[in-house]
Symmetry: C2
Subunit: 273 residues, 2 copies
């Protein structure tokens, strides 16, 4: 990595990774970004290890071929199921969202008991549990498969979504985890539900957003090699290119909810299938 503007590749199954890109743009405005959303094959959250690994490695190769110098796996499911395969297949550094999320949880939890919510595949992989137990924490992982479709339906502040979230969190913060004091948002869609999750979580619980902690981990990795002049001027200059495997129009429409700004420069790509 040199002192010129680095190009960071950001990969997600679809839209959720845009919450990570948003955090990256805030924390590292001095970089340029390539975002790859595998929208034709989303969601990954209900799929098997083999399938997710194959898709994720293809995406990493695509980003490398477009000169990404560091790849952020902005998808909890892909990180949880396939980080090792992606790291093994890539020729540039790869950073996932699980380890930064687990580190942030370890730094805030006092009771050493943490609840992690995510997709079915992320939970089944126990990637968060392993990362948290390695830091001496106890983890309960809870799959919340309805939250992604509810966010994508735009029901971010809807009574139904609040009811669903309440059901999931009551099941999670129960029995041995009544005194868990940290909730990790183990899916990049969930930051959009943060105000609601705050309301339905027990009052003593801190919420850890993997998007923010991942952006900080990337900044640390880039270290002093990048000129850190986080002025508005530099921020305005960050170039972002988007590549998606399904409809460009739909990505632009849904994507701005996640990124909180219009998405220009979106191209459709076919992978080699």
């Amino acid at each position: 990595m040199t002192s010129r503007r680095p190009t960071i590749g950001v990969f997600d199954s679809g839209f959720g990774g845009l919450t990570v890109l948003k955090a990256l743009l805030e924390v590292i405005p001095e970089a340029d970004y390539l975002y790859f959303g595998d929208t034709a094959r989303l969601p990954y959250g209900s799929k098997s290890v083999q399938t997710v690994a194959r898709y994720a490695v293809e995406a990493a190769h695509f980003l490398e071929a477009h000169r990404a110098e560091l790849i952020v796996i902005a998808c909890n499911t892909a990180t949880a199921l396939a980080l090792n395969q992606i790291t093994g297949a890539a020729h540039v550094p790869v950073i996932g969202v699980v380890e930064p999320g687990a580190e942030a949880a370890a730094s805030v939890s006092k009771t050493r008991k943490v609840v992690v919510i995510g997709t079915e595949a992320t939970v089944c992989s126990h990637a968060y549990q392993k990362a948290l137990e390695a830091k001496g924490l106890h983890a309960r992982e809870k799959a919340c498969p309805l939250l992604v479709p509810l966010v994508e339906e735009g029901w971010v502040n809807h009574a139904v979504t609040e009811q669903v979230a309440r059901i999931y969190l009551e099941e999670a913060f129960a029995d041995g985890f009544r005194d868990a004091d940290t909730l990790v948002l183990g899916c990049t869609h969930y930051p959009l539900l943060k105000p609601m999750l705050r309301r339905v979580s027990p009052a003593h619980v801190s919420i850890v957003d993997s998007a923010e902690s991942t952006a900080r981990a990337v900044a640390e990795r880039l270290g002093n090699l990048v000129p850190r002049v986080a002025s508005e001027e530099r921020r305005a200059k960050a170039r972002v290119g988007f590549f998606v495997t399904d409809s460009v129009e739909k990505f632009q429409r849904l994507g701005q909810t996640f990124l909180r700004r219009p998405l220009a420069n979106v191209q459709h790509v076919d992978l080699k299938e």
Copy 2:
């Protein structure tokens, strides 16, 4: 088609088509079946025409290569978006679910006003609207993107699902469609919600299940060419082979909810991607 047992290929993006297979096994027990579920790339309901057409044509070719003599597109989205492309690419007869559903609606509706519920992609294609208008009916199409994930979460009898269905149907049976008297289930997941949809629909409404009407259309197409000895003995003999692009275990687990019997003979396949 000869008087020996025909092999019928059934294609769906995942699990929902099993409700069509179930209806086919009841109406035509004298055939053998190959079921292709593109579970690695599901759901189709939120994807674009180009992507769905490409996937569906690949699936049709796969079924032909495995000696299917007639192909049933047991997926409303694939039928709505890509029936012409599939029919053009296939060398055997192709039957979709939209036309049989529309025909059944035309035969029961007295007010000539019909509500169709389906995925976002099916609704955007207006395939049902066109088919119904061609028969002189007025149609209101309503996308219900949360119903599929709710069914796949297993919340078939859950209060949340009933609340979601009520919201969708109240929006659909409003204004000029208060006197609509027919509800078409334009997605193969929805038959699992039929008792609940019955409860939340206006009392005067008839429910049309495309799965059943499609099975009858296939039987008509096969006509007298197939020995129609619908005895228990023949029914027991129907051979069904399943091919899926994602996890076999998950397909067997979730699939039996749809088919209402255990799924044996499931193989994993990779398409050419």
